[in-house]
Symmetry: C2
Subunit: 271 residues, 2 copies
């Protein structure tokens, strides 16, 4: 259920690196409004009435009416089958298809992950680095998964995930600390580390070992090992996760067995 729509939405100021900060005058407010409407469903995944849309997107009812009509025509919204309100439309999936297909990393990763999934028999994920969150792009489930563990497009806090920490380990301390500092350090489970000092310690371990491992920090009963995929100059761009259940494995066995596989797969994708 944790929608966690991650820490604070809304795009103001990429604020990372003061690169050029798009010119106000080139920003199309009316275009942005459409996306604000679509984003309303990140907070409430159910049919929204016109009034609710207007409120969520902070626009007038009239504006909402126009945006909704437009998005209905384009297929990015659909009338709710329940009769009232609108829901996200199928055409959105076309765009995510384009995204996945346009990203060379995804394409190269797919066969490697498939192979990895076969040898492991456990869930295998590819996540993408995105500042204070990571974004799951490919998810190959094993058996018995929760609904959200199957969805790509899910975001998780960088600081609390194996993949996130594996990626932070490739940043310099200043940058990594900055990300932790800007993260909302809310525990996802009773075991989530929220003390920046402890988190930093784990990051250093990851730096030393070449992989990160978290134990029940985002889901009770779950153990994950992950290794970062890096580009030139060792910039982390993604991570390969292998996730298993403590019902099947001891933490030590799991790490010993799967960490090398994650590292190898990540290395095959790097460079």
């Amino acid at each position: 259920m944790s929608t966690q729509q991650g820490f604070e939405r809304r795009y103001q100021a990429p604020e990372r690196e003061p690169i050029i900060e798009v010119d106000e005058r080139l920003f199309l407010k009316s275009a942005a409004r459409s996306f604000y409407v679509l984003e309303a469903f990140a907070r409430s995944p159910r049919p929204l009435s016109l009034a609710e849309v207007a409120k969520a997107a902070k626009i007038s009812k009239s504006a909402a009416q126009r945006v909704v009509q437009t998005l209905l025509v384009l297929g990015y919204l659909e009338r709710s089958p329940t009769g009232t309100g609108v829901v996200p439309g199928r055409r959105i999936l076309d765009r995510s298809f384009d995204y996945l297909r346009s990203n060379p990393l995804i394409e190269r990763a797919t066969p490697i992950l498939t192979e990895l999934r076969k040898t492991c028999g456990e869930r295998v994920d590819l996540s993408l680095f995105d500042d204070v969150t990571i974004l799951y792009a490919i998810r190959l489930q094993s058996k018995r998964e929760t609904f959200y563990a199957t969805l790509s497009g899910r975001r998780m806090p960088t600081f609390a995930t194996a993949g996130g920490r594996a990626m932070l380990a490739f940043l310099d301390d200043r940058h990594a600390d900055d990300i932790v500092r800007r993260s909302k350090l809310a525990p996802l489970t009773p075991k989530t580390l929220v003390d920046p000092v402890l988190i930093r310690q784990r990051i250093e371990e990851a730096r030393r070992d070449g992989y990160a491992s978290v134990l029940e920090e985002s889901l009770m009963g779950e153990i994950v090992v992950a290794a970062a995929v890096v580009k030139e100059r060792n910039m982390p761009v993604g991570a390969i996760h292998i996730a298993g259940s403590l019902a099947d494995w001891s933490a030590e066995d799991f790490r010993k067995r799967f960490a090398p596989l994650a590292i190898e797969a990540a290395r095959a994708l790097s460079g």
Copy 2:
């Protein structure tokens, strides 16, 4: 409702059913422009320069500049890592996450498909009906899959897929024929049926058997059985596919073994 326009893009005139035809004056041209830009990547999944964007979206270079800047800020576009041009942005995945999460069918289907995947050991898909195309929403791969067979958001022609025919079998003849007629009957493989008479015959078989089966019609070496998921009034909304390789199975064995499983899963989702 259904936004058809299968292969052919662009939304002019839903032209199907003269239902209310959204008021011209409520259609936000400037908002639509942003989506035209995003859709440019459906045709060419690679970085596009400003000029290319302008051309693809049929807007001026200035307009392209503004749209691109805006979408960059919002995260729906990203600068290409190769230095020049833009590519679809990660934020798109957030929206597809919202879509999947908002759709009750997807949520209900997930555990059923997971279970089905486990008992079958073959690839299992959930597709959604969308007029002349079907749209893959959930894909659980087995081993050795092609890249495109792993991507949700992929569209395939309704007439040539097992799921598509299973769904057509639940429409009345007029409607089914109409969909076939409006489809671009281009063969995907040497074995694709393109004769409307033969296609209709297969649809009738599906109606009789409660499932459809296609043999190498969309991918050589592949056999697929599928059963339709229907709503009230027996309207088809999706289909469950089970896909295997002819290297592992005879067509007959495959059908005998998996068709009942597809039917049962689809029935569990229907109603």
